[in-house]
């Protein structure tokens, strides 16, 4: 086969030259880091989640590796929505020549506050706003994640949708819910244009010598390889229930992982922890591996295999 396989995808009207999206919270804290990720091969980049006010985050240790993956409790460090607008505008300026879309990410404590933050962030005109209703690391500050309950998830979605006008929104879901399909249906009915699944899975790493959890926050969010089977199941569930584009996220380290995510029904593929496992060339490596698999299996476009593994 000689033709280069087509990796481009659409999320609504947005065109991505490849399906890899830099996941929120990884390298998304400045225009230069987002630009770097874009230049290193991402199809789109997501900024770190921002909330109504600046937050310093949790004290160290905030991250540790264990046998199956990573555990982090950064604690939603961010400069606050107003500062974030400047960061996003500068990022857009830097990305303009690349044509690579910029996604913003927001969080807040109440549906009203979500609407407020979304309204402020929309001023920066990001290509999409991701609504993080699922961070596991700030429970003390923000109560149970909205992602755990379909009614509050829908309330948040509606508030954001009303605040942002035509900017498309993706709602980011949590894996640790009894029925993720039901949450997905609720946010899509409330106006979500896409779904990002999943955020990290709550977990704890204990150091026996220290006789205490390693992270200062005690618990954290599991990402990396251990998250992949959990994410694949969630994506398959969501794809079965709703028809909006899914940004399948969790444990994608190799091109094969990305292909699996698409086979589960994802349109795009979030990539975060791979930066640690594969280094700064992560995006390029994953793309090359995806292409090699597609050539090997005579697959012309990702649309040909989307959801194929879980269709019955």
């Amino acid at each position: 086969m000689s033709k280069d396989p087509d990796l481009s995808i659409n999320i609504g009207k947005l065109k991505l030259h490849n399906p890899l999206v830099l996941a929120s919270g990884v390298l998304g804290t400045s225009a230069s880091l987002l630009y770097r990720a874009a230049r290193s091969g991402a199809g789109a980049v997501t900024a770190k989640s921002c909330g109504p006010e600046a937050r310093a985050g949790h004290p160290n240790p905030v991250m540790v590796e264990w046998e199956g993956g990573l555990l982090n409790a950064i604690g939603l460090t961010n400069p606050g929505a107003k500062e974030e607008v400047a960061l996003l505008k500068e990022t857009k300026r830097q990305l303009a020549a690349t044509g690579i879309p910029l996604f913003a990410s927001i969080f807040a404590g109440t549906p009203e506050e979500f609407g407020l933050v979304a309204g402020i962030i929309a001023e920066a005109d990001p290509d999409l706003i991701e609504v993080n209703i699922s961070c596991p690391n700030v429970r003390g500050d923000f109560g149970t994640p909205f992602a755990a309950d379909e009614h509050s998830a829908a309330l948040v979605t509606r508030a954001v949708k009303e605040a942002v006008g035509i900017t498309p929104i993706a709602v980011k879901l949590a894996p640790n819910v009894p029925n993720i399909g039901r949450i997905a249906a609720a946010v899509v009915n409330a106006g979500a244009d896409a779904i990002t699944a999943i955020n990290t899975m709550p977990g704890m790493v204990i150091d026996a010598e220290a006789c205490q959890p390693v992270l200062t926050n005690r618990t954290g969010g599991i990402s990396g390889p251990a998250l992949k089977p959990i994410a694949l199941r969630c994506v398959a569930e969501i794809a079965k229930t709703v028809d909006v584009p899914i940004i399948g996220t969790g444990g994608v380290i190799t091109g094969m992982d990305a292909i699996e995510m698409i086979l589960a029904g994802a349109k795009a593929v979030g990539v975060g922890s791979a930066y640690w496992y594969r280094g700064p060339e992560a995006f390029r490596l994953i793309i090359e591996e995806m292409k090699a698999f597609m050539i090997d299996h005579d697959i012309q476009s990702l649309e040909d295999i989307r959801g194929k593994a879980v269709r019955r």
């Binding site: 160290n60 905030v62 990573l70 950064i74 460090t77 220290a210």
Partner: protein, 246 residues
């Protein structure tokens, strides 16, 4: 590389000056000069430190706040939790090196000087501090055969002024193949522009607020305002701490 913690025991601590100790552990850590570790004391916190010796693992710790103070309290036999080695260190070039350290910036230069001498290189060390009492490892560098030049801001030892001044004099007068430095940001910014003026290859070990230490959280980005030669989005913990130019 796996970024989980392992325990080491303190073998001994040595007082280096009024607020600095040398901490020697009971085991080795395979590392390059310039790499760093995250040290964790449960219940106290976790902070980055240069690897000041790898066989056995040694750290040089200045008492500047709660964490470093807690390290100063440790006794032989006490446990310290270590994640690392992390990041990328120095790599030696040519026959003649100039090593410049400001404050505890001397820490990663110590194993680098030893390595350079063992490769038969000529090693010129320039150390700077506020005052004589704050200088670190002067005798040690001299004893192993480095040429030593000092600078203090108050003139209590060596030349009066900044370490950049003595480095410039040497760069003008000698054949040097590379400049290696670690110290406060302002010093490194000045050295970077100095090295460019005199067209010297340089390797600078930058500092920044480290949180994840794994190249993910973005906290330790060193902006191009520090050195225009840095690529955009350069992370001290992951791409550095040592930046090599060209």
């Amino acid at each position: 590389m796996k970024a989980d913690f392992f325990t080491v025991k303190i073998k001994r601590t040595v007082k280096l000056n009024h607020r600095t100790i040398w901490v020697e552990m009971n085991q080795t850590l395979d590392a390059q000069p310039g790499q760093f570790v995250m040290a964790w004391l449960p219940g106290v916190g976790e902070r980055p430190f240069s690897i000041a010796g790898s066989a056995p693992l040694c750290l040089l710790v200045v008492d500047v706040g709660p964490f470093s103070q807690a390290i100063h309290q440790l006794k032989p036999g006490d446990t310290l939790w270590i994640k690392g080695p992390l990041g990328h260190g120095f790599s030696l070039l040519g026959d003649a090196a100039i090593l410049a350290g400001g404050g505890y910036g001397a820490a990663p230069l110590w194993p680098l000087a030893q390595l350079a001498l063992s490769q038969g290189m000529n090693v010129q060390v320039c150390l700077g501090a506020r005052s004589k009492a704050d200088l670190l490892l002067c005798d040690a560098f001299e004893e192993i055969g480095c040429e030593l030049t000092l600078a203090t801001e108050d003139g209590s030892a060596g030349e009066t002024g900044l370490v950049t001044g003595v480095v410039e004099k040497i760069l003008k007068s000698k054949k040097i193949d590379g400049l290696y430095a670690c110290g406060p940001t302002g010093m490194l910014t000045a050295l970077a522009s100095l090295a460019k003026t005199y067209n010297f290859p340089y390797q600078l070990s930058w500092e920044a607020l480290m949180r994840c230490g794994m190249g993910l959280c973005g906290s330790c980005e060193v902006p191009q305002t520090c050195d225009p030669a840095l690529p955009p989005g350069w992370l001290a913990c992951f791409d550095g701490p040592v930046f090599r130019y060209p």
